[in-house]
């Protein structure tokens, strides 16, 4: 009955603890396997809005709120979206129709995105769509898995509409590199490591430790209004940033170091520190991506 309603039954069982049965049902009435949302023919997309008119996009997402938001944003672009709630329904939908793009959530009720991609490899395919995998937390392991499955486009939840549209645009154009935004460059360091990826991995971990230490020390010095301490901490971390060619963060630390030496106001130093805090996560992700790519190509 659940299947006839377009939903699924998920069982999680642990020995000695018991079983959890979950029934997932879509809100909309089942049309085929998936729920289709086609934008009204008369309604033109808004001027100035990115256009994916006529592109077939499959959304595989079990979070209803996220689904609705994605459908809303994509509807504005003129894309034709279909949504499934489980990974199996997504696989079935891919058998039924050719899609230009699949937006795939990492954790689905029945199985993961990686299991989905492994199973999809064995499906008879005519034209392979592009995939964007979304996750609330991109760990080192999940990034490596993404690379192993040939995934070039990812999104970290929560993401903004502009980031979503930019990533879709790049995926549809098959352009994996974000324009003018190379946050790290490991080529020089890899050369110094004589191609030793284990050493590079170890250095990347030490880099992250250095950053954490810098952030902690800098905060303590800022709270104590100790400009000299801020300058010392910023100065120290610069060589680590240079080693991975993190130009943007290096420039920020350089500014923090110089400004602290010149006794700029504490508010200004704090704003530079906040700027660093905001910019750092993207750099760490880029670092992990580069390493995962280097590992996969070896």
């Amino acid at each position: 009955m659940v299947e006839q309603l377009g939903g699924c039954l998920v069982v999680e069982s642990k020995i000695g603890e018991g079983s959890t049965f979950s029934v997932i049902l879509p809100y909309a009435k089942k049309a085929s396997v998936a729920v289709e949302l086609t934008p009204p023919a008369v309604k033109e997309e808004k001027p100035g809005v990115t256009s994916f008119k006529g592109k077939n996009i499959l959304l595989i997402e079990d979070d209803f709120l996220q689904q609705r938001w994605l459908q809303h944003r994509l509807k504005e672009t003129g894309a034709i979206t279909q949504t499934t709630y489980t990974a199996q329904q997504g696989l079935d939908a891919l058998l039924d129709k050719n899609y230009d793009l699949v937006i795939l959530d990492c954790k689905l009720p029945d199985f993961s995105a990686w299991e989905f991609l492994s199973r999809y490899q064995h499906y008879p395919q005519q034209e392979q769509p592009q995939f964007i995998v979304c996750s609330a937390q991109w760990t080192k392991e999940s990034q490596e898995k993404a690379v192993q499955h040939g995934i070039q486009f990812t999104l970290e939840k929560p993401f903004a509409g502009t980031e979503l549209l930019e990533t879709i645009q790049r995926a549809l154009n098959n352009d994996p590199k974000p324009p003018q935004k190379r946050l790290v460059d490991l080529s020089g360091l890899l050369q110094e490591c004589q191609g030793n990826l284990d050493l590079l991995d170890e250095l990347a971990d030490l880099f992250k430790q250095n950053i954490l230490e810098f952030l902690g020390q800098c905060r303590i010095h800022l709270q104590a209004s100790n400009a000299q301490g801020v300058s010392f901490a910023a100065h120290k971390v610069k060589s680590s940033l240079l080693m991975i060619q993190a130009a943007e963060l290096h420039a920020l630390c350089d500014q923090l170091d110089e400004s602290a030496k010149e006794n700029e106001s504490l508010t200004y130093l704090e704003s530079l520190y906040s700027h660093f805090l905001e910019a750092y996560p993207a750099t760490e992700r880029a670092l992990e991506w580069e390493i995962a790519h280097l590992k996969s190509s070896n």
């Binding site: 110094e192 004589q194 050493l199 250095l203 250095n210 120290k236 610069k238 680590s240 080693m243």
Partner: protein, 128 residues
């Protein structure tokens, strides 16, 4: 095998330099702050000190002064410093440092400088 004492409080840089120098045939001991560098000097097998000038507890400058004027040793000392630290570099030379290398440190340049300070540049195989 020549024994180098590497004083560097940045574990990332220390790790890379240790790897490169060991590959080049040196034995490398590391120290993560000035106090540890000073303590490690009790090891008589050390042939050369390579240390960052800005180290916690005991700076590279204080170390040069300590080695030359307290220990009265001519142990070669190479300082790692940022290029903008000219005043300190000049002071370190006047205190008796043998050479310096600026950050970002190129491991290859460091190897050449070590060999030169040790007077082995014409015969690199002699480091072993």
């Amino acid at each position: 095998m020549k024994h180098l004492l590497l004083g560097e409080d940045d574990p990332m840089l220390a790790s890379l330099l240790k790897y490169k120098l060991e590959k080049a045939g040196y034995r490398v001991s590391t120290a993560e702050d000035g106090r540890q560098v000073k303590k490690s000097l009790a090891d008589n097998s050390i042939d050369m000190i390579i240390t960052d000038i800005m180290m916690p507890y005991f700076s590279g400058m204080e170390l040069v002064d300590f080695v030359r004027n307290i220990l009265r040793s001519d142990l070669p000392i190479l300082l790692i410093s940022s290029a903008s630290n000219e005043e300190n570099i000049l002071k370190a030379f006047s205190l008796g440092a043998d050479d310096f290398i600026s950050k970002p440190v190129s491991p290859s340049e460091l190897q050449v400088r070590i060999a030169r300070v040790m007077g082995k540049i014409r015969n690199p195989d002699a480091i072993n």
